[in-house]
């Protein structure tokens, strides 16, 4: 059961959106033997709240229609359990623990590139195809690497930083050399009905962007919802917070504190149920420590490697120097001239050498801001005198 000479058997992950539709359709157009698969991630007993979310029943119909238009097979695979345990639960645990998790990376890691790769054997597929804007390239010497896509605005390497390295060599990303506009043009040219479909914003499972409301309301989570104290870096109580689940590092709005100078969330301590506030300058951090790294290189880079570090999806990046820490983690020190604002635990730190994505991990903690430490210490002195 192999494909025709020169052709590949392709398992195409299809969310129902235009990107994955065009990725699959382009490979089908080239004559590869494509089977489309849509992962069913949640219970669709009743209609979902928002038609713009991906992975809904409508989305399955859209994916199926693309497959019919292009004349390849399409199947729905139930992945609700994996989604619940590997994506949703860590998302909830993260918020309840005072972090700001980034579930898209986990979804790519465990579902699209984890689960689907194990399921490639079902169809005897040679490669997995997804609609991400990124490149997989083979370097001289045969090493495989992940590279930024041509459309800088759409580049999705940040969201792919946790995918298993071994999966890269079996992956095709046909949109890496296209812009979003070109993708829509291809969809239109190929007669795909999704060509003008609106883009999903926010998280697909929280289409209205109200994460706290989703976690406490729909999932019935109670951790992280008890009111507690806003404190400053020295521990002075500044007011009352509504539960740590409602806050993220760097947040300014919605704190409910009157002040001539705005307060920002500096840190969240779920165990102590406190949210530490400070002034804008105190948000700056000289560096960060990650959780265990996922490297997208044959061997991890050496200590002292200079990288571009991105600390959230839309972050342009800042130059940093890597140093390996215990248990597979790294410490990244930003250049002294460019400390970064709002280093947020739970978000990813993703490192680049030029256009190549070297890998990433969740941010465990920010390195302390020297000014804030000094100020806190000074205030502590004041308080004692």
């Amino acid at each position: 059961m192999s494909a025709a000479p020169g052709k590949l058997r392709v398992l195409a992950a299809m969310s129902g959106g235009v990107d994955s539709a065009v990725a699959a359709a382009l490979l089908a157009e080239q004559g590869h033997e494509v089977t489309g698969v849509t992962l069913r991630l949640a219970c669709y007993g009743k209609q979902p709240d928002n038609p713009r979310a991906c992975c809904t029943l409508d989305a399955m119909d859209d994916a199926r229609r693309t497959a019919m238009t292009m004349g390849f097979a399409h199947h729905v695979i139930d992945a609700e359990d994996v989604f619940r345990h590997r994506v949703l639960q860590p998302f909830v645990d993260g918020y309840a623990g005072g972090r700001t998790p980034y579930p898209c990376a986990l979804c790519n890691q465990h579902l699209k590139f984890g689960d689907l790769v194990t399921r490639m054997e079902l169809t005897g597929a040679d490669v997995l195809c997804t609609g991400h804007y990124a490149h997989v390239r083979v370097l001289e010497g045969g090493e495989v690497g992940l590279f930024r896509g041509r459309d800088a605005d759409k580049d999705q390497t940040y969201a792919l930083a946790l995918v298993p390295y071994a999966a890269l060599s079996r992956t095709r990303l046909p949109l890496g050399s296209l812009t979003k506009t070109e993708v829509r043009e291809h969809a239109h040219r190929l007669g795909l009905k999704v060509w003008d479909k609106v883009e999903s914003q926010d998280l697909c499972f929280v289409p209205d962007g109200d994460y706290a409301g989703y976690i406490t309301g729909k999932l019935g989570e109670t951790r992280g919802t008890a009111p507690g104290d806003f404190v400053d870096a020295a521990g002075h109580v500044l007011g009352a917070h509504r539960g740590v689940i409602h806050y993220t590092v760097g947040q300014r709005k919605g704190l409910g504190l009157a002040s001539s100078e705005p307060w920002y969330v500096l840190a969240i301590d779920a165990a102590a149920n406190t949210v530490t506030l400070g002034r804008r300058a105190e948000l700056e951090s000289p560096g960060l420590v990650t959780d265990a790294m996922n490297w997208l290189t044959a061997t991890p880079p050496a200590d002292g490697t200079r990288v571009l570090a991105r600390i959230r999806y839309n972050h342009a990046g800042a130059m940093a120097t890597l140093r390996h820490a215990a248990n597979g983690a790294v410490e990244a020190l930003f250049d002294e001239a460019t400390p970064q604002m709002a280093v947020t635990p739970g978000q990813l730190a993703v490192f680049y050498d030029g256009d190549r994505c070297l890998g990433g991990a969740s941010i465990a903690r920010a390195l302390p801001n020297a000014a804030a430490v000094a100020r806190a210490s000074a205030q502590g002195q004041e308080a004692r005198t």
Binding site: M1, T38, M60, I77, D78, T118, E121, L122
Partner: protein, 381 residues
């Protein structure tokens, strides 16, 4: 592609396709028209009616042409319930009936009716004693001839005998049985029997409700006197012609095909058991249709198996997945108390008139490869 999904639908027989093609080209008048062209079309419709009647052991005037099994089931169940509403507003059906019957009951529920479900045993046979416990005011009982998922034949005659003794009319959905086992309305003891052409070499969209002469029936589509006032609407002439011919051809070959297909199924199941000693064939202790195998391979999920089979060129069905792709046990296997971990892996293979021994041999090899791949992918959803 090896096609082992004949319970879903069968290929149209070439003779049937030819007859329908001719009907589409040559029978253009309305069979209700008085002119001789209309009469010519009417004659073909009536010829088909006679063929259907002969196929099912019914009288010609008992045959009502409908659009499919679902419509036939609705017309019988809802039509009987409405006609007998003064005697009670309760209906009953076997738990493992097809969605079409559940749908008719749901419609009646919206109109104020209540219903009872008859349980089945672990082999997938509806328990006849349950009829005796139905509440007073039950006006119609629906029980299928053969289950579409397992192929298990139901004790229709026994159920009907008990129902009639209590004044309950009996509807038999024979859609999955007709063309595979002999259907005789008198032997079944049913007041209403439904069969559908596409399950035995006829076209989709052409089916028949056989309503006995004394069976009450309140028509659902009205306004014209088609089908003796029982089903308004201009006849689907080509479909009816195809249905009639399919009945005649299937009826003539029925015993020989049942024997031939039964032997292929036995070889298929023997091959499955030998390659997969831990496989579980659902309903195997009961008398079944000769063409159907419903089987689970522990540790292999149905959605994975279907994907793997499809990629390797074998068409079958899951008894387990809904339209959204959720891996849920089928209500039929749940009613048989099949454990969930087995039920979510259930596959239905259904053989047909065109199935060959070589295809069965090739299918067994494909199943073995697919089971290995599906087990490798795990059972976690």
């Amino acid at each position: 592609m090896i096609y082992l999904d004949h319970n879903a639908s069968t290929p149209v027989r070439p003779e049937v396709a030819d007859a329908m093609n001719a009907a589409l080209r040559e029978l253009s008048a309305n069979p209700s028209s008085a002119h001789r062209e209309g009469q010519r079309v009417r004659a073909e419709v009536e010829r088909a009616r006679a063929r259907v009647a002969a196929f099912a052991g019914a009288r010609e005037d008992e045959v009502v042409f409908v659009s499919g099994g679902t419509e036939g089931d609705h017309l019988a169940i809802v039509g009987c319930a409405l006609a007998r509403r003064a005697e009670g507003q309760h209906v009953a059906f076997a738990a493992l009936e097809h969605h079409a019957v559940h749908g008719a009951a749901h419609l009646l529920h919206e109109l104020g009716w209540t219903h009872s479900e008859l349980p089945c045993d672990g082999d997938g046979r509806t328990i006849p004693d349950a009829v005796d416990a139905l509440p007073a005011g039950t006006t119609v009982l629906s029980v299928m001839l053969a289950n579409n998922e397992t192929g298990v034949l139901q004790p229709v005659a026994e159920l009907a005998r008990r129902a009639r003794a209590r004044g309950i009319r009996v509807h038999c959905d024979a859609v999955q049985g007709a063309g595979k086992v002999r259907v005789n309305v008198a032997e079944l003891g049913a007041d209403y029997v439904v069969l559908s052409g596409h399950k035995f070499g006829g076209p989709k969209g052409a089916a028949a409700l056989i309503a006995r002469r004394d069976a009450p029936l309140s028509p659902l589509s009205r306004g014209s006197a088609h089908e003796r006032g029982r089903r308004g609407g201009t006849e689907n002439v080509a479909g009816i012609v195809g249905l009639g011919l399919a009945c005649e051809l299937a009826g003539a070959e029925l015993d020989a095909q049942a024997e031939r297909i039964g032997a292929l199924r036995a070889a298929f199941e023997a091959g499955l058991r030998s390659a997969h000693p831990d496989c579980v064939i659902h309903g195997e202790r009961a008398e079944r249709l000769p063409n159907t195998t419903n089987v689970s391979f522990p540790g292999a999920r149905a959605d994975h198996l279907l994907l793997a089979l499809d990629a390797r060129g074998l068409a079958a069905s899951a008894g387990a997945a809904c339209a959204s792709g959720a891996v849920e046990p089928s209500p039929v296997l749940a009613a048989m108390n099949v454990p969930r971990e087995l039920a979510i892996g259930a596959l239905r293979f259904s053989l047909g008139a065109a199935t060959t021994a070589a295809e069965i041999e090739a299918a067994l090899a494909i199943v073995t490869a697919a089971v290995a791949a599906a087990r490798g992918a795990g059972v976690r959803a």
